[in-house]
């Protein structure tokens, strides 16, 4: 029987020991002596969050298809175990083999959100691996990062040997092959990194030097090694049907956040909302074949025993075969006690019909994401949702028996005025009014309209990447304006308003658009005790501010200025296909309130057509 890394005493003392024992259904076990490469795949957050992530499941399956690689999973130990591991100097281990990952060939870390950065340091630290890439030798694993945050990897540059920019399905096998050659050759780590730097999409931060102007902006960003590419091309799978997808995802024992079969129906989004990073990064939109998805639905449900299946993508309503797929899932699986969990869909006759089939109307709510309260501001952000569409959809739903609506907005968008903020409350009230237009005897009691706001954070590779953010007090003031206006509405008793904390927003802002220098503040914050920053109960704004002070970094430099169009941005060396010219054009259109049509209506010439596939070539073959 497998020997566990932690003793019974420890496992019985910590919360949810199932987080640390592995052994789940479909977890891959191999003979460690029969493989050439041991790969630890890390999600730097707690098990239940990490296990819900589709990307790891895809790459775990892909890497383990090869007999010469054993890929295992690692998640951040929760704070209780974290403390015990430090006290007893227990090295962080992988779930499958329970072996310390410091002895592995690779530590691959997926970086999904900025607020997990301290947990990356926690993982390396607990693994007993030096935090800085420059302190790691041939004796240590190669630390490689991937995921959405690596489109601006600079804040983490000092801690990683390699970043993989783009979708994981393309060059991992290549890298593994090169690694095997290198391992057999006995050459230095430097030589391995030089080899890796030549693979498309791989970025070795140590091979680049950054200099700065006196005002703090970047003066130059230059390769210092002849093997390093000047521009890193984003990696992308053009054919998302004939590619890797797990038939047997790992099934956790404890309830994960996403405890279900997930079918990723498409990548990318045709919409072009100007605040949305994913909408730009994953261009062009690529759909999976509906027959492939049906087949996987069968296999994955059978192999996991999950009682729920959900669809995943950006803007799922734009998937051209959605009706066929959803109808199939309902007809095939509903009768077998499988829940069909729908993504948020555009509200129309079709979606209301399927929603009424798979959800209890009395318990479910409708979701709209207008993102901005006024049409003016929605034009600025290029969000195609109009008030008419919202009221029409809500009206249909109310007549069909629904009485709960959720509305999502952002505060702090470029050009926002007080009127735009107040329009959030007014729009919520209009939805409520639409409900009360229904005669009393035909409606289902009172309605509940919940409006939520988050604060806008400009992200790299969006038309808003040059925009300024605000300071904490301004954010709180904005939320107060909306809150006050909510209370002034006719139907205020049917309205509810939630807003996000401003503190986390500020840090996310710094790390989203930060440069190499902010890594110092990150390390300092970690040393001061910051960890699990995405968890409200652990987030310590005071310590973070102290970390910035201690390292002499100015939050305002990163958050409180509009960047010049010709400023060198820390992520400019990455080419995602979408051109900087297009983003600049869109930034200008935004300021003029000019709308850009979606990819299917009219090509806006963003540059992603260079990949030679997806929506750019739909109907052209």
């Amino acid at each position: 029987m497998r020997k566990l890394a932690l003793s019974d005493d420890i496992l019985l003392k910590v919360d949810k020991p199932a987080r640390y024992i592995g052994n789940e259904v479909n977890a891959v076990m191999k003979d460690k002596d029969a493989v050439d490469i041991r790969f630890a795949f890390v999600f730097p957050d707690v098990y239940e969050i990490g296990m819900s992530h589709l990307g790891i499941q895809i790459l775990y399956d892909m890497l383990n298809r090869r007999d010469d690689i054993w890929c295992e999973r690692v998640y951040s130990p929760w704070t209780d175990l974290d403390q015990i591991m430090r006290e007893k100097e227990i090295p962080l281990f992988a779930l499958e083999s329970q072996d310390p990952i410091k002895d592995f060939d690779f530590i691959g870390i997926t970086i999904q959100y900025e607020m997990c950065y301290t947990n990356i340091l926690q993982v390396l630290d607990l693994a007993q691996v030096p935090l800085f890439a420059k302190d790691r030798t041939e004796e240590h694993p190669i630390v490689i990062g991937g995921g959405p945050c690596t489109y601006n990897p600079e804040p983490l540059a000092d801690f990683f040997d390699i970043f993989y920019i783009g979708e994981g399905e393309t060059v991992f096998y290549d890298l593994m092959d090169r690694y095997k050659e290198w391992k057999a050759s006995g050459k230095s780590k430097q030589e391995f990194l030089e080899m890796a730097a030549e693979i498309p999409g791989l970025y070795v931060p140590a091979f680049y030097d950054v200099t700065y102007h006196e005002d703090g902006t970047i003066a130059s960003f230059e390769p210092n090694n002849e093997h390093a590419k000047r521009v890193i091309e984003k990696q992308m799978v053009l054919d998302v049907t004939n590619t890797y997808y797990p038939e047997k995802p790992v099934v956790p024992f404890i309830k994960a956040t996403q405890d279900r079969v997930v079918l990723e129906i498409q990548r990318g989004c045709i919409r072009g909302c100007r605040f949305c990073q994913a909408g730009m990064l994953y261009r062009p939109t690529r759909e999976r074949d509906v027959e492939m998805l049906k087949e996987y639905a069968y296999k994955m449900l059978k192999n996991t025993g999950h009682e729920e299946i959900s669809l995943s993508s950006l803007s799922s309503s734009d998937y051209s075969q959605l009706e066929e797929l959803v109808t199939f899932l309902i007809e095939e699986f509903k009768g077998k006690g499988i829940n069909i969990s729908l993504p948020s869909l555009r509200i129309d006759a079709f979606s209301l019909d399927v929603m009424s089939k798979v959800q209890d109307i009395r318990k479910s709510s409708l979701t709209f994401a207008p993102e901005a309260g006024s049409q003016r501001l929605r034009d600025v952000i290029n969000k195609g949702l109009t008030e008419e569409i919202i009221l029409e959809g809500a009206g249909q739903a109310f007549e069909g028996g629904w009485n709960r609506v959720k509305l999502y907005f952002m505060l702090g968008l470029p050009t926002e005025t007080e009127e735009d903020m107040k329009d959030i409350a007014r729009l919520a009230d209009k939805v409520a009014r639409r409900y009360y237009e229904i005669p009393k005897d035909q409606r289902n009691g009172k309605c509940q309209i919940v409006a939520s706001t988050s604060f806008f954070i400009p992200k790299p590779f969006t038309p808003f990447q040059w925009a300024t953010m605000l300071n904490r007090e301004d954010y709180i003031e904005k939320a107060n304006i909306v809150n006050h206006e909510m209370k002034a509405q006719l139907n205020h008793k049917s309205l509810k308003y939630n807003w996000h904390e401003a503190d986390v927003t500020i840090l996310e802002g710094v790390f989203a658009r930060g440069d190499r220098r902010v890594g110092k503040a990150l390390l300092e914050a970690y040393k001061l005790g910051c960890i699990y920053d995405s968890w409200g109960e652990h987030f310590r704004y005071d310590l973070w501010m102290q970390a910035f002070e201690n390292t002499g970094l100015d939050v305002a430099f990163y958050n409180l200025r509009e960047r010049d169009l010709d400023e060198i941005l820390p992520w400019d060396f990455i080419n995602i296909g979408v051109t900087k010219k297009f983003l600049q054009r869109e930034w200008k259109n935004a300021l003029e309130g000019k709308v850009t049509p979606n990819c299917r209506m009219q090509c806006a010439g963003c540059g992603a057509a260079i990949f030679g596939g997806g929506v750019c070539f739909e109907g052209k073959n």
Binding site: M1, R2, L4, D8, D9, L11, L12, P17, A18, I21, G22, N23, E24, V25, V251, F253, I254, K255, L301, K302, N303, T304, G305, H306, E307, G337, N339, D360
Partner: protein, 230 residues
């Protein structure tokens, strides 16, 4: 029709709590294509009831749950199917048809269970086995039972049906179920107290051997393991 499934829980699986084991077996039912019945309503769930929850950290050779089937199946084949999609640490031992009588579900008929409890460290005095012989000779075995509001003394001796010293630990048969329920750790604590051991230091490992119902056989009542009563 109804069926009772007996399984073992060992190794790392002892860290999986009762609710998660239930969820685990719901998924086993689907993976093994067991034609299990569902309740009605908008969110139907499987008709499945577990006999007696096992604490986290405890292993077992005799765990049970009852399910309702929509059709007759070959139970031997079903056991094989289930074990093919299993993990290390859970093993289905058998599956038997049981009466459709609602009152006779595993949950309600459990009356006793056997345990092996071992002392994990040397918290007990060296000659504890000799001294322990007198444990059951006491007139009463009093323990303090703490509830939210009060503390009261309870005599657990009537709930201990068998008690033997075996190798490095204790074999016991104790009252289990919805009427009376005695946990093995309570017995071991009482034993430790009797031996004058430092209970702060003591740690035990418990293993459940079997779960019984009280069955009428002729004129007498006997404990019969759950897979033998239907």
């Amino acid at each position: 029709m109804k069926a009772r499934i007996k399984f073992r829980k060992f190794g790392a699986m002892k860290f999986i709590g009762h609710l998660d084991v239930m969820r685990f077996f719901q998924k086993v039912m689907r993976r093994a294509d067991i034609p299990i019945a569902f309740t009605g309503g908008f969110s139907p769930h499987m008709i499945m009831s577990f006999a007696n929850p096992l604490g986290v950290g405890v292993t077992s050779d005799g765990e049970y749950f009852d399910i309702e089937l929509t059709e007759e199946i070959d139970m031997g084949a079903a056991v094989e199917c289930m074990n093919q999609t299993m993990v290390e640490g859970i093993e289905v031992v058998n599956m038997v048809p049981i009466s459709d009588d609602k009152k006779r579900t595993g949950m309600s008929i459990v009356a006793a269970a056997d345990y092996l409890s071992n002392v994990k460290n040397d918290a007990f005095p060296e000659n504890w086995k000799e001294k322990a012989a007198g444990f059951m000779e006491q007139e009463q075995i009093l323990i303090v039972k703490k509830t939210k509001k009060s503390e009261k003394e309870v005599d657990i001796k009537p709930m201990i049906y068998k008690f033997e010293i075996r190798e490095n630990g204790v074999y016991m048969q104790v009252a289990t179920g919805s009427v009376e329920n005695l946990k093995p750790e309570v017995v071991m604590q009482a034993l430790g107290q009797y031996l004058g051991a430092d209970l702060e230091e003591a740690s035990f490992v418990h293993h459940r051997l079997e779960v019984y119902a009280l069955a009428e056989i002729g004129k007498s009542k006997e404990f019969v393991s759950l897979d033998k009563v239907w």
